[in-house]
């Protein structure tokens, strides 16, 4: 395969790749613009969701947030989704706060209202359906009452956003209890992702669906919504408190819901003091207060002094961050060494929803002392292995940090993305409750961590890159690269040598055709002179003088030819100069001092400035023209050489003609100069025609196609043209039909004309 055709294939392959990439990008662009989603929570999959805060897990076909964190959210979808209908079932898992869905969300960050979009949800404390605009601040519309809103009950949320209007309906599943609203904002957010969000309560979501919506869907859903709502509150305190209410704890039932109906049976004991109640005394009832730090697989509570496990509690559903009071009889930790205690079968009452406590940052060595038993801690470790605990739904991470080894337990059923991140030797930052229980340590580690969700794991660094397999891969890559470089270097060297050899061959031909033959002629003349001197008479002297004269002519001619050859080796086409002028100057320098006249014709330029001719084409035509001029001067003995360069819209024609002696094409063989001109013509896709007849002069004509100028058709047009030209060159390459046709044309022309270079003798 020739170089040009190889280049063409490369260009074609790159163009195909670019086309493929463009198609994929366009497909993704259009695919992501169409709002469509249906959850896979029932299949335990949620890879496409991105959590911002909270403690999220999949359980029983629903996505749960077990945290009371304010503004915990989980997002999915495209920022380009515009008008859509979002449906979801939502369940509040706490006695305060609110939970719902986010629409048209952008610019999300951790924080209470740290996103730009809309939120529609159900709120417990005033039993309402609420809607508002969030832009790292919160503006709420007047909420709509939903009587009898309760926790642990599924509600169906149906929201349609079209243009700057949003309609929403919430209905209690299995009941006719429902509320609707219709909301508008003048300068609205018109597109964005969807999300699940809760504030100051745990919550669960399932059956999340998104599909495109139209105006009719909006109108149908708004239905009997009472008024059009706007983002109005809270702007002024007076207006807000005139239309909103807060719990005053006057309602006995409400009090019981919040606080239970039992007074503390004993005085409150700091949690750090509970182990002292176990040692050397009769079992006695204690009451502790604290914040829930873990709900599964066991309830843990901590206060400012310490933490404690509450196995098998008698408790309402609790979330992380709930403040609770627990009363029970403490006991020592099961099978654990140390002074830890737990409070089994405790009666737990919910006091307040609160933000989850922040973990204590400690080292594994500190955790191994046992002083942080049942406390929420944060530490770092290197992952050594991952496996599922036999007979349970817990995933076990084996970790090491310094001299300590420990385990971390997390609910199984994590997303595939989670497993992809958990590569051995990764450096992890973990947050969880420290436990000394043998059930988790199995006696092989000094402590274990119980994590709340996969959000409690941050991968600080992946496995070190210098693993044996990675080193082998890198070594192989370097070896391949070296081989490639060596191959390219050898090819370059080969190309260079080939060019040198070709040039040497050309010089050899040149020397043979000029100097060697001239010297042979001089030698022949000198031989004749020597022979003539042996029989010198007056006639002989005259003949010798004639022969000396001839020899001088031959030497002079040889000197001129040598000068021309040197000039040809030195001369290059002067870039930036018009082709005809350049050739005219070249011809003038060649015929300088002689009787040959150079005439320039045909300055016409049909396309404007002749400088638009591509450099590559001009260079090839210049060399063809110069060769023709030199040949004419050398062999045709002309009195006049006529140069013409005709510029047309799509091609340029160069002609060099003389009225010299001409030659008979049938009697001439093909010389090196003709081959050079043919080769140059072929390289630019030009046709070369040489017309000559004995006594009637010679005409060399090269017709080269022109590329359209880039400015007249733009980048893509130019690229398309270049590709077409490359493909044409490929077809015209060695063995190509066009090339064969061109060669046939040259052969036909040669029947009338031949190269005017000196034929081989």
């Amino acid at each position: 395969m020739s170089d040009s055709s190889r280049r063409s294939w490369w260009i074609a392959a790159l163009a195909a790749l670019a086309l493929l990439a463009g198609t994929v990008a366009a497909w993704r662009w259009f695919a992501t613009a169409r709002p469509f989603y249906r959850d896979d929570f029932a299949q335990n999959r949620a890879d496409e969701w991105h959590a911002v805060g909270g403690a999220w897990r999949l359980a029983a076909g629903a996505m749960h947030n077990d945290s009371d964190e304010r503004g915990a959210k989980m997002l999915t979808g495209s920022y380009r989704w515009r008008d859509y209908r979002l449906q979801a079932d939502v369940q509040l898992l706490g006695e305060g706060g609110d939970a719902g869905v986010v629409l048209r969300s952008k610019d999300e960050e951790p924080g209470v209202d740290a996103y730009d979009g809309y939120y529609v949800g159900v709120r417990m404390y005033d039993s309402t359906l609420l809607i508002g605009r969030s832009d790292h601040g919160w503006l709420e519309a007047t909420p709509v009452r939903l009587p009898g809103l309760r926790s642990h009950v599924w509600y169906h949320l149906d929201v349609v956003a079209v243009g700057c209007s949003i309609a929403a309906r919430v209905s209690e599943l299995g009941s006719t209890n429902e509320a609707r609203l219709f909301f508008q904002e003048p300068n609205c957010v018109r597109s964005g992702r969807i999300g699940l969000r809760s504030l100051a309560t745990g919550a669960a979501w399932r059956n999340v669906q998104v599909k495109p919506a139209k105006e009719a869907d909006l109108v149908a859903l708004a239905g009997p919504a009472p008024t059009v709502l706007h983002p109005d509150f809270p702007k002024s305190e007076a207006a807000f408190n005139a239309s909103h209410s807060f719990p005053t704890f006057d309602d006995l039932a409400l009090q019981r819901r919040f606080f239970g109906d039992q007074e503390p049976q004993t005085e409150i004991t700091p949690i750090a003091s509970v182990p002292e109640r176990v040692r050397g005394r009769e079992a006695q009832l204690v009451t502790v207060r604290g914040t829930v730090s873990l709900t599964s697989p066991m309830l843990f509570v901590q206060d400012d002094t310490g933490g404690i496990a509450l196995p098998d509690p008698i408790a309402p559903a609790l979330n992380l961050g709930d403040e609770v009071e627990a009363t029970g009889t403490p006991s020592a930790l099961r099978d654990a060494i140390g002074a830890g205690a737990m409070l089994p079968h405790a009666r737990v009452r919910l006091l307040w929803d609160h933000t989850p406590a922040a973990p204590l940052s400690i080292t594994a060595g500190q955790a191994a002392t046992g002083n942080y038993d049942a406390r929420l801690i944060e530490l770092q470790g290197e992952l050594t292995g991952v496996h599922q605990e036999t007979g349970s739904k817990m995933l076990v991470l084996e970790l090491a940090s310094g001299a300590q080894a420990f385990r971390a337990f997390i609910p199984a059923g994590q997303s595939a993305a989670f497993y992809r991140r958990m590569l051995p030797r990764s450096l992890l930052n973990l947050r969880g409750v420290c436990t000394l229980e043998r059930r988790y340590t199995e006696g092989v580690t000094s402590f274990a961590l119980l994590l709340r969700s996969s959000e409690d794991i941050d991968r600080l660094a992946g496995p070190p890159w210098w693993t044996p397999s990675r080193l082998a891969e890198i070594g192989s890559a370097i070896l391949l690269l070296c081989l490639l470089v060596q191959y390219l270097y050898s090819r370059a060297k080969q190309w260079r040598w080939r060019a040198i050899v070709q040039e040497r061959e050309r010089l050899a031909h040149e020397l043979h055709d000029t100097l060697a033959q001239s010297f042979a002629g001089v030698a022949f003349q000198l031989q004749g002179i020597r022979n003539g001197l042996e029989h010198a008479d007056s006639a002989g002297i005259a003949r010798v003088n004639q022969q000396i004269e001839l020899a001088c002519d031959v030497v002079r001619q040889t000197h001129e030819e040598a000068s021309l050859s040197i000039a040809m080796l030195r001369e290059e086409w002067p870039a930036g100069k018009e082709l005809g002028s350049a050739l005219e100057d070249c011809a003038a320098s060649i015929v300088a001092g002689g009787n040959v006249r150079v005439v320039r014709k045909g300055r016409g330029d049909g396309r404007g400035a002749p400088a638009h001719i591509p450099v590559r084409v001009a260079d090839a035509l210049f060399h063809i023209g110069r060769e023709a001029i030199v040949n004419s001067v050398r062999h045709a003995n002309p009195t006049q050489i006529v140069l013409s360069v005709e510029y047309e819209m799509k091609h340029v024609t160069l002609a060099v003609a003389d009225e010299g002696r001409g030659f008979n094409p049938k009697q001439q063989t093909r010389g090196f100069g003709l081959r050079g001109m043919e080769k140059r013509a072929r390289s630019i896709g030009a046709t070369l025609t040489i017309t000559s007849e004995a006594g009637k002069g010679t005409r060399v004509e090269a017709n080269a196609p022109l590329e359209e100028h880039m400015s007249t058709r733009g980048f893509w047009g130019t690229l398309r043209s270049r590709l077409r030209q490359r493909m044409a060159w490929s077809r015209n390459g060695r063995g190509g039909r066009a090339q064969r046709a061109q060669e046939a044309a040259v052969r036909r022309n040669r029947s009338r004309a031949v190269d005017t270079l000196r034929p081989s003798r």
Binding site: R70, Q255, G290
Partner: protein, 327 residues
């Protein structure tokens, strides 16, 4: 061919320019505003003040804070984000006087004007660091005067919510005790319960106080969390009508309870004015050629909010939470 080359070079230079611009330009006309928490409306008033000051200018604010005032790490992360993004200024209401010091110092070292509002830091004022603080002395005095007035100079009062980590609470409590001792010697101030400012602990303290001091006449709370805990404790013990509750700082639910007559009064911080003034300081700081005054410490007077004056324009302006003002 030459034209294609020119095109390619132009595109490359444009990309480079955009890349460098994105890396080095930052957000010179963005002010990062980091409140103690975004979960309390007292800071929405600061937000409103900032928005009001930016109205009609080319500046904009980026408002975000921790979801709880205990999330110091989150606050530090937000300050670092402002430094990283080369924001034009930082307004910070610190959650901790020590933990935020390094982050603020780094911001100032990079030439970012910083205004610390509400509570002080362990960092002296400088060319790039100003302080706009609540007048804690006056807060204590206002509360003492109010309780002295409603108790007519006789009775027993407790102070809840004092914690050494929040220097403002210590200053308020100290001012309260000094004023009581000086102006109302007939009123007994119970010994403080240190480090108990969270809601559940304040509720627990309230129950214990009511049990140990049945004659308790009033409680002065120093933080919003402590006020909520005391309110709940008084409600559950059905002593809300007997024990007068005077609280520091405002929030929508607390003003709601004040309107119901269950909370006697609130000593409200003027966070709206702090946000407004802080924004003006930063935008003026950035005006070229203007000679900067050395770091300033300005104190904003609090106001006592009662049922009688809560609807006055002056108080409502302090409680303004409109962070999208139109005029």
């Amino acid at each position: 061919m030459r034209s294609i080359g020119v095109w390619c070079w132009s595109l490359a230079l444009l990309s480079l320019d955009l890349m460098l611009g994105g890396c080095s330009g930052g957000h010179p006309h963005t002010i990062a505003v980091v409140p103690q928490t975004t979960a309390q409306e007292i800071w929405e008033a600061e937000h409103a003040g900032v928005a009001k000051a930016l109205l009609g200018t080319r500046w904009k604010e980026r408002w975000n804070g921790p979801s709880s005032e205990t999330e110091v790490d989150r606050q530090i992360a937000l300050v670092q984000q402002a430094i990283r993004q080369r924001d034009g200024g930082l307004i910070l209401a610190p959650d901790h006087p020590l933990a935020l010091t390094t982050a603020v110092r780094r911001a100032a070292e990079q030439g970012m004007p910083v205004v610390v509002v509400d509570a002080t830091l362990n960092l002296p004022p400088s060319l790039d660091v100003d302080y706009l603080l609540n007048d804690e002395q006056q807060t204590g005095e206002l509360a003492a005067d109010r309780i002295g007035a409603i108790l007519h100079g006789r009775g027993t009062v407790a102070v809840l919510g004092e914690t050494p980590a929040l220097m403002g609470t210590v200053a308020r409590a100290e001012a309260f005790r000094q004023t009581m001792a000086a102006r109302f010697p007939g009123i007994t101030v119970l010994d403080p319960l240190p480090g108990r400012f969270r809601t559940n602990l304040a509720e627990q303290d309230t129950e214990e106080l009511l049990a140990s001091h049945p004659q308790l006449n009033a409680i002065f709370t120093l933080t919003v969390g402590a006020t909520r805990g005391v309110y709940r404790g008084l409600k559950l013990k059905q002593r809300i009508q007997q024990v007068h509750l005077v609280a520091c700082d405002q929030d929508l639910d607390l003003v709601y309870y004040l309107r119901l007559g269950e909370i006697d009064s609130l000593v409200a911080e003027n966070t709206f004015a702090m946000g407004y003034q802080a924004t003006r300081l930063i935008t003026e700081h950035r005006v070229g050629g203007k000679v900067r005054a050395p770091g300033r410490v300005l104190r904003f007077a609090p106001r006592l909010v009662t049922r009688d004056n809560v609807d006055t324009p002056e108080i409502q302006k302090m409680l303004n939470m409109d962070w999208r003002p139109t005029e």
